[in-house]
Symmetry: C2
Subunit: 121 residues, 2 copies
DNA sequence: TAAACACATGAACAATCATTCATATGTGAG
DNA sequence: CTCACATATGAATGATTGTTCATGTGTTTA
C-alpha cells in the first residue's frame, strides 16, 4: 500500500506520479493554508457578515449593533471579539460606549469580491 | 424596553436613532447576507482550502488528491461534494476516474485577495 | 462612594460539521 | 457476467462553534 511518513494514505493506487510530485513541490506550507482557512472562517457566519456590513457604512456602538441586528448585547460582543482578533475591526472607547469600525478598506474589498462572484451565479 | 416586531432586542437603550435608521434602510436583504456567509463558510476549512490550492495548479483525480493531502478517499469525496455544490469546482469523468478542476478564475482571484490581505498583517 | 449604564467574558447547551467506517454506484477488463 | 477499481454516500461519532445566562469590569453621574 502507498505510504507517506509511514502512514498509509490511499488504499488505491492510481497516482499520476509526475503530476503529484510536481504539485507537492509547489504547495504552500501547511501553516499558511491553515491561517487562510481560519481567516475565511471568520467571514463564514451570518451574524459576523451582518456586523461587517453595518460597519461598512458607519462606526457603531455595541448596543446600536444589537438593536439593528435584533440580537442581545452578549451575542454581539462575542462576535465582535472574534472580528477584532482577526483584525477586521477596530475599537474606540468614548466614555461608557465602545465604537467599532472596519479596520481598513481591504475588508470592504474582500466583501465586494465575494458579492461580485455570487452575482455571476 | 425597545422592541422590534414585538420582540425585545436590546435591554439597554443607547440608540443613536438617526444613524440606526439610516443604516437599516441601506442594509442588503437577509437572504443575500446569509448566502454570502454560506459562501465564505466553504472556504473556512483547511481541507477544502488545500484542495483548492492543489486544483489551482492542476486538475486532479480523487485518489491523487487523497495521496497529496494524506487523507483517505472518503473524506476527500465528501469535501469535493461541498466544493462542487458551491460551484467552486467542476468534475469531468474519464473512464473510472473523475477529474476535478477549478470552476473558473474567479476562485483564484478570491484566494489571492485573502492571501494578499494576510500578507499585510 | 454608590448606583446605573455600556460592554466583556466564562460556563453551559444545542446545533453544526469534518472525518471515519461500511457500503453502494458506476466503469472497464477479462 | 463477474471481478476489480475509482468514486460516492449514508450513518455514527467526536470536535467545534454560536447563543444564552449569569456575572464581572470599566466608566459616568448623583
Amino acid at each position: 500500500m502507498p505510504e507517506q511518513n509511514g502512514v498509509e494514505v490511499c488504499e488505491f493506487l492510481c497516482a499520476h506520479e509526475s503530476v503529484v510530485s510536481e504539485v507537492r513541490e509547489h504547495m504552500p506550507d501547511e501553516d499558511t493554508l491553515f491561517e487562510l482557512a481560519e481567516f475565511y472562517k471568520v467571514f463564514g457566519d451570518s451574524t459576523r457578515i451582518r456586523i461587517l456590513t453595518v460597519l461598512c457604512r458607519h462606526e457603531m456602538c455595541v448596543c446600536d449593533l444589537a438593536t439593528i441586528l435584533s440580537m442581545n448585547q452578549s451575542a454581539i460582543s462575542h462576535q465582535l471579539r472574534i472580528l477584532k482578533q482577526a483584525r477586521l475591526i477596530a475599537a474606540r472607547r468614548e466614555g461608557k460606549q465602545v465604537f467599532y469600525s472596519l479596520a481598513d478598506d481591504h475588508v470592504r474589498h474582500i466583501l465586494d469580491t465575494a458579492i461580485e462572484h455570487l452575482a455571476e451565479r
